[in-house]
């Protein structure tokens, strides 16, 4: 059972003020991006009820859980809100299994069942062998996995995740991302996800909030915000192109039947999916290129946006061509723009190598 959240509050600290308003509909996943010290963890603390804001209110589902004006402050355990904090903080006196089973037990699940659920989640985070270990007997990354499993176990109405994929190795990151996706997307779990990765946001979230120095500087659907960043930070973190569709064989089938070649990660054929690739991977040609790039898309140049030492070419649709190319970006060097001598309205080809395209289950 998933609940929405709506919050609008102010936290004041000596050299820092967090002043935000945000919301997530039931079943929606909200990503929170922002530089170190922007207030992301503080935000989650207020939602979880661990911190009392100086002013403002928080609503979870139908319930007002914080309201400074009315003196309301529902304690954390009665909010139906789960939090995976930035530090693992596994209970040092419990084994991995008992750490994970703690939440279900707290919700009255019988011991046997809670342990079964814990074992399932241990397998999910690829840590089956660690079931009987105490935290002091695990490596940093192993602790992080178990902490993730522990946060997922009670299946709270609202799940808050603070950098859940940090400290994981290259093998583990995609696997854990897949697990998270199953748990929070497929179960229609409302979640707020703090991350430093645009890919996590794209794969896992519906909407994104960008926080800088305690204020929301951008907000909206993930793809829109990352596609049209208005802050320097977003611009740097963003920069990924995205095509929605359905997985089909070695690629993604768009609504109009075209195939985008790529490498599928954790998505089954027939499932809703997105193809993601960085604009820097898009080669731009005046004439249709031949060669290894599998994805060659006809576009009409919509805009030329200089950004620092690269130039972003923004695509529009060519009449009769695929409409989903609208908004795709290609980053090229100024010299290349000069070479191509293009201007808005010109018809071009965007070429993307299949190996640059990752196909993820759709957010």
């Amino acid at each position: 059972m998933s609940t929405g959240v709506e919050a609008c509050f102010v936290v004041r600290r000596p050299a820092f003020t967090l002043d935000v308003a945000l919301s997530a509909a039931p079943g929606e996943v909200l990503a929170v991006l922002g530089p170190n010290g922007a207030g992301k963890s503080t935000l989650l603390g207020v939602l979880a009820g661990l911190l009392r804001p100086d002013e403002g209110s928080v609503r979870v589902g139908e319930r007002v859980v914080t309201d400074t004006a009315a003196g309301v402050h529902v304690p954390p355990h009665l909010r139906g809100v789960g939090l995976l904090a930035q530090q693992a903080l596994l209970f040092p006196h419990l084994t991995a299994r008992d750490n994970i089973a703690f939440g279900p037990r707290a919700h009255g699940v019988p011991r046997r069942e809670a342990r079964a659920r814990a074992d399932e989640l241990l397998a999910g985070v690829d840590a089956t062998a660690l079931g009987d270990r105490r935290p002091s007997q695990m490596s940093g990354g192993q602790q992080q996995r178990v902490a993730l499993a522990r946060a997922l176990a009670p299946e709270p109405g609202l799940l808050l995740l603070d950098e859940p994929l940090a400290a994981l190795d290259v093998d583990a990151t995609p696997a854990m991302r897949g697990l998270l996706r199953r748990v929070i997307r497929e179960a229609k779990q409302t979640a707020v996800l703090v991350t430093h990765s645009a890919l996590d946001a794209l794969v896992l979230a519906d909407r994104v909030v960008v926080l800088t120095a305690g204020r929301v500087v951008e907000e909206g659907p993930v793809r829109e915000v990352l596609a049209r960043p208005r802050s320097a930070f977003t611009a740097r973190i963003a920069g990924l192109d995205l095509v929605p569709g359905v997985r089909d064989g070695a690629g993604l089938r768009t609504p109009d039947g075209l195939l985008v070649s790529g490498r599928a990660e954790g998505v089954e054929p027939g499932e809703a999916a997105v193809a993601v690739f960085p604009p820097s991977a898009v080669a731009v040609h005046a004439t249709r290129p031949t060669g290894s790039p599998r994805n060659v898309l006809p576009v009409r140049l919509a805009a030329i946006e200089p950004r620092g030492d690269v130039v972003r070419l923004r695509a529009g649709a060519v009449p009769g061509g695929p409409v989903w190319v609208e908004g795709l970006a290609a980053d090229v060097t100024p010299a290349a723009v000069a070479d191509l001598a293009v201007e808005p309205g010109d018809d071009l080809w965007f070429a993307v190598k299949a190996t640059e395209v990752a196909i993820h289950a759709a957010g």
């Binding site: 979880a48 954390p76 209970f91 040092p92 707290a106």
Partner: protein
């Protein structure tokens, strides 16, 4: 650990151990069995162990929650309450016993009430011994445990809350296991203090074989007529304490 700390540590240890060793050396071992197996000694030993155990449990049951309130509660004047808890430590035990007598004795405020309502007289009963011991030993448990609670902090309790655990569940399954070493060393201190308690017991509970005469009271009396017997009985007390503590302590280290 800096090496040279061994020097003051050795002096401290000697300061504690040497007087006790001196006592042992002075004891006439041939008289020991006779002294220790006398009816009076055995009855006092039994009484001491039972009352100290019950008082320690009471200290845990009452002092534990008090420590939690002092460590976690947010109340104006907490600092003052904290000082009050230390009073039984400062009060000479005999005065503490008098204070209890004034309160719970036959003419005392609470005592009168108890007598009228339930026909209970507290002084001169084993219950009075337990009350006296609990009074003097409570601060030990409270202070040790409060320190442990403060050091452990509230981080894990917060984590438990975000997993949906009620304060009571978090307390039982997280706080208590985490501060178990502190609780155990507090309990050991309290138990030792109960075992050695003399002044408050004598002033409040009296001294009657089998009912209120614990081992320290017997030692005190014996010393009036036979110092060597008193010393031997103290050693019995020491041995009992060391055994009980050695049995109770390892768990503190394991957890």
């Amino acid at each position: 650990m800096p090496r040279f700390l061994w020097v003051p540590a050795g002096i401290a240890f000697a300061l504690i151990a040497l007087p006790v060793v001196g006592l042992v050396l002075r004891t006439d071992l041939t008289r020991l069995p006779e002294l220790l197996l006398s009816r009076a000694s055995l009855s006092a030993l039994r009484l001491s162990l039972v009352t100290a155990a019950v008082s320690t449990l009471l200290c845990i049951a009452l002092g534990g929650p008090l420590a939690v309130v002092l460590a976690r509660g947010r109340l104006p004047g907490m600092q003052f309450l904290r000082s009050v808890v230390l009073l039984p430590l400062v009060l000479p035990p005999v005065v503490g016993g008098l204070a209890l007598l004034y309160l719970v004795g036959r003419t005392g405020l609470v005592g009168q009430g108890l007598e009228l309502a339930f026909g209970i007289t507290v002084p001169f009963t084993t219950g009075a011994v337990v009350l006296a011991q609990t009074f003097v030993a409570l601060p030990f448990l409270v202070v040790s445990l409060e320190g442990a609670l403060r050091t452990a902090g509230q981080r894990y309790e917060s984590v438990a809350a975000t997993l949906g655990a009620s304060p009571w569940l978090a307390f039982r399954r997280v706080t208590v296991p985490l501060v178990l070493p502190g609780l155990l060393s507090g309990a050991v201190l309290a138990f030792a203090r109960c075992l050695g308690e003399f002044g408050a017991t004598i002033a409040f509970a009296g001294s009657l074989e089998g009912t209120t005469r614990t081992l320290p009271l017997l030692v005190y009396l014996a010393r009036e007529s036979d110092v060597d017997a008193a010393v031997a009985l103290s050693l019995l007390l020491v041995v009992v304490a060391v055994v009980v503590i050695a049995v109770a302590r390892p768990r503190a280290v394991l957890s």
